[in-house]
């Protein structure tokens, strides 16, 4: 039977408390529904030694923790994966069949592209902070649900299809669906997470830089940069009342 590694640090810290519960309710439940067994490293089991020991025998891992641009940490912020670290390099060299989904802030900026360069098959994560809304008096509440539902959609579909591209498309569709359903109170937070999520793998290039739609604006951006287009559009707004962003 195929086995998924789920890493759920939890020491009472708000983000990990919510994340650990949500991964149990979603990813672990999805695995059972899809015929996978689960190696669950929860709480004090979410250590570097255990994670590094388990990953080489897995093809899929869904991991929670805190992160910055170059570092992923697990229980009580123990450093596990770091750009330039020999243990991380060795793990990636053996990870030609391994797909990882990171529920952490920022690792998509630098650590995940680095891990792909070092041989990991694919990794999905956030290039900025992962933000979510809670109702602390009602743990784990329905307000937080859309954020984790969209994140875990990658896991749900990967566990069914074993195809990271299909899983990525499903996650993006889930974020869009949650954005459309969200009240004005917090849909900007869904916009934040949707925009900073990215699947890193060979051949899946980072999102292209935005381009203006009209030829004149394209010429300005090409020759003078976005800053000048922005200035020109502010002048246009002052003179004619046309909002920036409209052709």
């Amino acid at each position: 039977m195929k086995e998924v590694l789920v890493v759920r640090p939890d020491w009472g810290d708000t983000a990990c408390r919510w994340g650990a519960e949500q991964l149990a309710r979603k990813t672990i439940a999805y695995a059972a529904q899809s015929g996978w067994s689960v190696r669950d490293l929860y709480g004090d089991d979410a250590t570097k030694a255990k994670i590094i020991a388990e990953l080489p025998s897995k093809t899929f891992a869904s991991v929670l923790g805190h992160g910055n641009e170059t570092t992923y940490t697990a229980q009580r912020q123990e450093v596990v994966l770091v750009k330039g670290d020999p243990d991380t390099d060795a793990l990636c060299a053996k990870g030609g069949n391994l797909v990882m989904n990171f529920l952490t802030c920022l690792v998509g900026e630098d650590l995940l592209p680095y891990m792909i360069e070092k041989g990991l098959k694919a990794a999905k994560g956030y290039s900025e902070e992962f933000v979510f809304v809670t109702d602390p008096a009602n743990f784990p509440d329905s307000v937080a649900e859309p954020f984790f539902r969209a994140h875990c959609e990658f896991d749900r579909v990967y566990l069914q299809t074993e195809d990271e591209d299909t899983a990525w498309d499903a996650e993006m569709a889930a974020w869009q669906e949650e954005y459309n359903k969200a009240p004005v109170t917090y849909r900007r937070y869904i916009a934040q997470d949707m925009d900073s999520s990215w699947l890193h793998k060979a051949g899946h290039e980072p999102p292209p830089e935005p381009q203006p739609s009209c030829p004149t604006s394209q010429w300005v951006v090409r020759n003078m940069g976005w800053k000048w287009l922005s200035r020109l559009r502010k002048i246009r707004k002052a003179l004619f009342g046309i909002e920036p962003g409209y052709p």
């Binding site: 109702d135 899946h204 999102p207 830089e209 962003g245």
Partner: protein, 94 residues
């Protein structure tokens, strides 16, 4: 799989702050207020940034009055820009 980054370059901070204030002024956040959680980066020894949605307008107002280093306002303005970009990409006024 094709997805462009949201185009935030044409939305100024001031414009996003006003948009957010206008949106929030239409809402009644008095009861059942929810909290926003932004986890800290590892090693920073910082606690997570946790704040009530009902306090956002206050932070934005402070930012507009000169408190440009208000961490919550800075983040909220970034998130508002992303919402505005999505709304505009959907052809809605924002």
């Amino acid at each position: 799989m094709a997805r462009a980054k949201l185009n935030l370059t044409l939305i100024s901070d001031e414009e996003a702050a006003k948009y957010l204030l206008t949106s929030l002024s239409r809402l009644n956040l008095g009861s059942g207020d929810k909290e926003v959680v932004i986890p800290p980066p590892p090693g920073s020894k910082d606690k997570p940034i946790v704040y009530k949605i009902s306090s956002v307008a206050e932070h934005i107002q402070a930012w507009m009055n000169g408190a440009k280093d208000d961490v919550i306002a800075i983040r909220e303005i970034k998130y508002a820009k992303k919402e505005m970009a999505i709304e505009r990409s959907l052809g809605r006024k924002a």
